[in-house]
């Protein structure tokens, strides 16, 4: 990437501070012309600050921003207006200005001192109003139209600015669902058909995934993820950045990923993201047996995954409460293909497996089968079962699988303490 006029927006090591608070920390970003980029992140992550810095409102303490190759701070206010247009989060006009006049405000940067609005300006306004389907409301007052229409009018105003870069700050947060889809579709068309570069701060990840070419995720002022929606969106990201446990699905029509949020990571759980850089440890459990191990691992700084667990299992609640990614199956059903596949994914990513003393039945027997597949690749820790407790409901198959694990090199442990000791690097387990 050259960083010249082909790059609509470029941030170079940008740090922005408001007093004591750092809103953006050492952010690098390059947005090529014509791209539709969605900025995502929780409240306070710096999305609005980034947009304001691009507009010249926030001056970076460190680093600089460029619009089409020129430093934002060196451009005059009018020059900036000709390069970048802004659709703010909420604009509450005070006067009942006619929609047409409101849209024509966007022509300011193209008019001379005493110049009135001419044919060219009126034509631009007409085109813009037609593009947002508001031409029949041109004479109505801006306060008399609906919120959705007003947002479209503001978009039209941004259009008549004829700026090659358009920044939108949560443009759909006050719109109902129909208007959200309508608005973002139009914005997408703008990007695809006119080559306008769009950078939109969107809090709705699913909308971002559906319409944007690229998603950049900010967390506490830093860029933590950047790429195509399919590459960026993951359950792990949502748990780590937003503190929400969700399921990732794929939209059958568009192929775009979408997230189904379930609940929050429990308060008091170790903060997702505060991981000590060790790879995830997968816990195979059920019936409440895995909870102490999950907790201990999390507190010791490990990322944990769990599965496969059935809904209503208390271990599932524990796992999700700790922000662990889990393979989940419907209650009492045998593990389906999709769940097994997910379980395999989790195991492939794991650096160790802990098998808790869970009651094994036909529906969760495959957990042991998949665990056995990890033999030799990563350490497997097998918790000794308490004597005298009935645990094998599979007619001996579970016993056999656990024997296979033991013979294959799985280590036996009795409790949490031994587990942590066994996992510690000095104990000679393979590096994470």
């Amino acid at each position: 990437m050259t960083g010249g006029a082909d790059t609509a927006l470029r941030l170079a090591s940008v740090t922005v501070r408001y007093g004591e608070r750092t809103a953006l920390q050492d952010v690098d970003l390059e947005v090529p012309r014509g791209q539709f980029l969605a900025l995502a992140g929780p409240n306070g992550s710096g999305k609005t600050t980034l947009l304001r810095a691009a507009l010249g409102f926030a001056v970076p303490g460190v680093g600089h921003l460029e619009l089409f190759g020129d430093d934002v701070q060196t451009l005059s206010v009018v020059e900036r207006a000709r390069r970048v247009a802004w659709v703010p989060q909420d604009e509450s006009p005070r006067d009942d200005v006619p929609v047409l006049d409101y849209v024509l405000y966007g022509r300011y940067a193209h008019l001379g001192w005493l110049e009135g609005e001419g044919r060219e300006d009126r034509d631009a306004a007409t085109r813009a109003l037609r593009a947002v389907d508001l031409l029949d409301r041109a004479d109505d007052g801006i306060l008399s139209i609906s919120g959705g229409e007003r947002q479209r009018a503001i978009l039209a105003r941004a259009l008549v600015q004829e700026a090659p870069l358009v920044l939108l700050d949560e443009p759909t947060s006050h719109l109902d669902i129909a208007y959200q889809i309508d608005f973002l579709t139009r914005v997408q068309d703008l990007s695809r058909e006119r080559g306008v570069t769009v950078v939109a701060a969107l809090h709705d990840l699913n909308l971002a995934a559906r319409y944007a070419d690229r998603i950049v995720v900010l967390s506490r002022g830093r860029r933590v993820a950047d790429g195509a929606p399919t590459a960026v969106l993951s359950e792990e990201l949502l748990a780590r950045v937003w503190g929400v446990v969700a399921d990732l699905r794929r939209d059958p029509r568009t192929g775009a990923p979408y997230l189904l949020p379930h609940h929050l990571v429990a308060a008091g759980a170790a903060v997702p993201g505060a991981f000590l850089g060790r790879g995830p440890v997968h816990v195979v459990a059920g019936g409440g047996s895995g909870a102490p191990y999950l907790r201990a691992l999390t507190e010791a700084g490990y990322r944990v995954t769990a599965g496969a667990l059935h809904l209503l299992d208390s271990d599932l609640e524990a796992a999700e409460g700790l922000g662990a990614l889990t393979a989940v199956e419907v209650p009492f059903a045998p593990l389906g293909e999709e769940v097994r596949s997910k379980l395999r994914t989790l195991l492939d990513a794991a650096t160790a497996v802990v098998v808790a003393p869970f009651p094994v039945g036909p529906s969760n027997l495959p957990n042991l089968e998949e665990a056995a597949r990890c033999l030799g690749r990563i350490p497997i820790l097998l918790v000794r079962r308490p004597a005298g407790v009935e645990w094998d409901f599979t007619g001996g198959q579970a016993h056999a699988l656990e024997e296979r694990l033991r013979l294959g090199g799985a280590r036996e442990i009795s409790d949490v303490g031994e587990m942590l000791a066994a996992l510690a690097p000095s104990s000679g387990s393979p590096p994470s």
Binding site: A5, S76, V78, E79, R82, A109, G112, W113, P164, G195
Partner: protein, 343 residues
């Protein structure tokens, strides 16, 4: 799509900004120049034939026609001088608040109106300013103005409508005498002025003689308070630098407010009671009489009121710097403070 470079719009806006600052500088500069030019021009110009150059009490110079026959007087103090100099018939206009709102009686007492034969048709409406149209209609040849008038306004009259103005604003009792000489010069009545001046100076000398005699006998000057208005907070009186104070001093009295920090201070009831002056003079006229003052704090506890030494005097005698103040006010005050002293 081509990229916008530096465009015409910013240049025009910068130009517009410079024009603005330039405008400010030009305005102030022009104003200052105008003032300087006017002052310079005026100080150099000579008076036309048939007019004489007169310097008034504020140091202003104006060209007055010789023997003016139509005069507008702004201020009862000046009217007093004009009357005593026998020039009443030259006066065609006097100051008063709007004829419909108070009129003559706001500035002139009933006695003065009667004595000087004033009527509201002579009114040139005033507050600190006056009505230009009426002034023009009266066709005055000179305007005599006292302290109550805005200096800027009279100078406006003088320069715009070419009606010369003489400010008669004495600041001391000696100044009152000097003004009679000035008026004698303006109206060409040297003998009348001379007579009046002699009388004034005689009275002043007699007062000074009395003072010397009292000093020689080591008689203390009686303490006195002269109050022109009272309210629930205290007594309004004359402080240092005022005519009231000068009059008291010349009458061989000691004003209890002569060390005040303001020219027209209000002394609290406590202060007056503490000073307990031997004499109290209250200002009458314009609707005020003794009953207007008796509700002042500690009024009945003052020894002046208990001893029967609370006396009323026309307040004009203390506020209007004119011959009446010297010829009538001063002797009356001496009479109060020094009963039995021959003057």
């Amino acid at each position: 799509m081509h990229l916008p470079g530096a465009s015409a719009a910013p240049r025009a806006s910068r130009l517009r900004g410079s024009v603005v600052w330039l405008a400010v500088i030009l305005i102030v500069g022009a104003g200052a120049t105008a003032v300087a030019a006017a002052a310079y021009y005026e100080s150099r110009s000579n008076c036309a034939a048939g007019t004489i150059k007169v310097t008034d009490d504020l140091g202003r110079q104006d060209c007055i026609p010789a023997n003016p026959q139509r005069v507008v007087v702004l201020g009862p103090s000046i009217m007093d001088s004009m009357y005593r100099l026998g020039l009443r018939n030259l006066v065609v206009g006097v100051d008063c608040y709007a004829p419909d709102l108070g009129g003559l009686s706001d500035d002139y007492s009933a006695d003065q109106i009667a004595l000087w034969n004033l009527s509201s048709s002579m009114c040139v409406q005033t507050g600190p300013t006056f009505d230009v149209e009426t002034l023009i209609a009266l066709d005055p040849q000179v305007v005599l103005a006292a302290t109550i008038v805005s200096v800027a306004d009279v100078e406006q009259i003088s320069q715009t409508y070419h009606i010369p103005v003489v400010m008669i604003q004495p600041s001391t009792l000696e100044g009152v005498v000097a003004d009679e000489e000035l008026l004698g010069e303006v109206f060409n009545v040297p003998s009348a002025a001379g007579t009046l001046i002699t009388t004034l100076e005689a009275t002043l000398t007699e007062a000074q003689d009395l003072q010397s005699r009292l000093a020689a006998n080591e008689t203390a000057f009686p303490s006195v308070i002269v109050t022109y208005s009272t309210d629930s907070d205290g007594y309004w009186t004359f402080g240092p630098g005022t005519f009231g104070d000068s009059l008291i001093r010349l009458a061989s009295g000691t004003s209890i407010s002569s060390n005040a920090s303001l020219p027209y201070p209000e002394l609290s009831g406590e202060q007056v009671l503490a000073s307990n002056p031997a004499y109290l003079v209250y200002g009458t006229g314009f609707g005020l009489n003794e009953s207007s003052f008796t509700s002042a704090p500690f009024w009945s506890q003052l020894s002046a009121t208990q001893d029967g030494n609370a006396v009323g005097m026309d307040s004009n005698y203390f506020t209007e710097p004119d011959p009446t103040m010297v010829l009538i006010g001063l002797p009356q005050l001496i009479g109060i403070l020094h009963p039995g002293a021959s003057l």
